[in-house]
């Protein structure tokens, strides 16, 4: 049986960029014990000689002619922005202070 501790879930939530309350972390940790048990069944038949399928279509690279086609105007592209400034997306600080 695989289980994930509260701290394991906290680490995953950090990787997924989701803040979680202690209550949520504990609840998820309990649920994952059951869910992981159920999904681990795939290992019963996934032997080394079976190829993996990542996609239903056997596609390779798909190209189109390199021609200019109309695209969104800056105003349209910014229409949903939570904040904007000088025709650009205004975002919170990404780098630390000097």
């Amino acid at each position: 049986m695989t289980s994930l501790s509260r701290d394991d879930v906290a680490k995953l939530a950090g990787l997924a960029r989701i803040e979680m309350s202690d209550e949520e972390l504990v609840a998820l940790s309990n649920e994952f014990t059951v869910i992981l048990d159920a999904v681990a069944r795939v290992q019963e038949v996934a032997s080394a000689d079976v190829a993996a399928t990542s996609h239903p279509l056997p596609l390779r690279n798909v190209f189109r002619p390199d021609v200019v086609i109309p695209s969104l105007s800056p105003a349209d592209a910014l229409s949903g922005a939570p904040a904007q400034e000088e025709q650009r997306f205004r975002v919170p600080q990404i780098l630390g202070e000097e």
């Binding site: 994930l4 879930v9 995953l12 939530a13 990787l15 997924a16 960029r17 989701i18 803040e19 979680m20 949520e24 998820l28 649920e31 994952f32 059951v34 869910i35 159920a38 999904v39 681990a40 069944r41 795939v42 290992q43 019963e44 038949v45 996934a46 032997s47 079976v50 190829a51 993996a52 399928t53 990542s54 996609h55 239903p56 279509l57 596609l59 798909v62 189109r64 969104l72 349209d76 592209a77 229409s79 949903g80 922005a81 939570p82 904040a83 997306f89 975002v91 919170p92 600080q93 990404i94």
Partner: protein
């Protein structure tokens, strides 16, 4: 007027008996009358729909050549972008967002002059089987308002059963078109993967997601299928081949000499008695119509659910990373000096619901270093095995069939706190998505024990979607003869309904 099929409405429009404005207004009136109870819609675009209808009427008056469904109204699942119209995906994180572009499906609907009434309710980001995971409250099944309408496309299916729309668009990642169709007594089709463009379909699991038609008859679904399908250069996974002749198949409904394979593993234990009985009756009707019924085995299908709940969460954990509070949608905690990372963390905590968080975390785990091979890698191998099972079965049979779902509609709240029990709803629909083939659900009657609709599933090989329409039309015709009237004519009347 609103109880007609879409093709009946289309003929009345074509011969001038009704106008699209009158037809659209009648549906808007029905929405006003019953949607307080059903809650199929998240947004009704009254002005836009009436303007579109008036434009079609004008074209018709000018003698322009119009498409078969021109002027017929439709309900759009809120996972599809429509320029300037709110698109939430049932999530708080997209509340108030108005996309600056049309999805290809919407562009095709507009090109065919199909009138878009509004956006329908769904499980948040299409994750769920009951529409209870919508951040805007559940949709109620018109057959019994205390029950779920299926999910994730519960709003689209319920709008058909409540006569709020004769046509709807759904999307199906693990059964989200077919299971709602089954539990509401309507028709739902997941086309072959790549048959309908995914451009502008907000991605949940890109290798599984497929948009398709929802309707009240097989022919209506086929007409809508042809209107939205076809190659799209904007979607690199869209198949560059002619659309299968689904309308011709639905019109002929010929199954003489066809081999119909009953999937042994998708029946029996765990399937409700009334579900099994309706399935057996449907097989008898198809045999009487000239089809040959054979049994096929797909031994790896029992691993499909487990593989799905690794692949879909893995892809969703990656796809939903785009909701980062930077370019559109919700932004929380953007105070002076707050870092981008803390804004992302807080926004995603507030913006995502429980099931979405559960799947993102599960996917993050399945893809993480050290666990990748054991989980995601193994699930991909199961995907190969399932596809091989289908290939072998299609050597024996032209189409495969099963009940769409193990049970009829359950009560709202009944499974809300048991994710595994909820996931089991999709046990018979998931294999189709894993292999990228076509699947249809159509009503086969009601279960004797609860009087609720039961769905019959038909599966067809890649780009042979016409086959499921032939079989669906044959079964629908035989059932109609048996019942004397469509199943939905027996649905209990909703308060205020026309």
């Amino acid at each position: 007027m609103i109880r007609n099929s879409a093709s009946e409405m289309a003929s009345k429009l074509a011969n001038g008996e009704i106008t699209s404005v009158a037809l659209t207004q009648a549906h808007l009136d029905q929405i006003s009358a019953v949607d307080k109870e059903v809650h199929a819609f998240l947004h009704v675009d009254t002005q836009g729909a009436l303007a579109q209808a008036a434009a079609v009427d004008a074209k018709r008056n000018n003698g322009e050549k119009l498409s078969p469904l021109a002027g017929v109204p439709l309900a759009l699942k809120d996972v599809m972008t429509q320029k300037g119209i709110p698109t939430t995906c049932g999530s708080k994180i997209l509340e108030g967002w108005r996309p600056p572009y049309d999805s290809t499906v919407v562009a095709n609907l507009k090109k065919n002059d199909i009138v878009i009434l509004g956006k329908t309710n769904m499980d948040e980001f299409a994750m769920g089987s009951s529409t209870e995971n919508s951040a805007y409250g559940p949709t109620h099944n018109p057959w019994d308002l205390t029950r779920i309408p299926g999910g994730s496309g519960g709003g689209s299916a319920a709008s058909l059963a409540a006569f709020e729309a004769p046509l709807a668009i759904g999307t199906d990642t693990g059964g989200s078109i077919r299971q709602p169709a089954a539990v509401t007594g309507t028709v739902g089709v997941k086309p072959t993967y790549g048959g309908v463009s995914r451009y502008g379909l907000v991605a949940f699991s890109s290798s599984l997601d497929q948009a398709g038609p929802c309707a009240r008859t097989v022919l209506d679904a086929a007409l809508l299928h042809e209107a939205i399908a076809g190659h799209d250069p904007k979607d690199s996974t869209s198949i560059n081949a002619p659309v299968p002749a689904v309308v011709a198949a639905a019109k002929s409904g010929n199954v003489k000499g066809m081999k119909i394979g009953v999937v042994k593993e998708l029946n029996g234990d765990g399937y409700q008695k009334g579900v099994r009985n309706r399935f057996e009756e449907s097989l008898e009707l198809l045999a009487a119509a000239g089809a040959e019924i054979v049994e096929v085995s797909a031994p790896n299908f029992e691993y499909a659910l487990a593989a799905y709940y690794l692949i879909a969460p893995s892809e969703c954990s990656s796809n939903l990373a785009r909701f980062d509070a930077m370019r559109y949608g919700l932004r929380v905690g953007d105070n002076d000096g707050a870092s981008a990372e803390s804004v992302m963390n807080l926004t995603r905590e507030v913006g995502f619901g429980r099931e979405v968080k559960r799947r993102i975390i599960l996917g993050t785990y399945a893809l993480s270093s050290g666990y990748y091979d054991a989980y995601y890698g193994s699930a991909q191998k199961v995907r190969t095995l399932i596809t091989q099972d289908f290939n072998k079965a299609f050597e024996i049979a032209d189409v495969l069939v099963s009940p769409t779902c193990p049970t009829t509609a359950f009560k709202i709240g009944e499974k809300a706190n048991d994710p595994l029990a909820m996931y089991l709803n999709d046990i018979a629909t998931i294999p189709v998505n894993m292999a990228g083939i076509g699947g249809m659900s159509l009503p086969s009657g009601v279960a004797e024990e609860d009087g609720l609709p039961v769905g019959f599933q038909i599966m067809s090989p890649v780009m042979k979607d016409d086959r499921m329409y032939s079989v669906g039309a044959a079964l629908e015709a035989a059932l109609l003869t048996k019942w004397g009237a469509p199943l939905l004519s027996t649905i209990p009347a909703l308060a205020g309904s026309k």
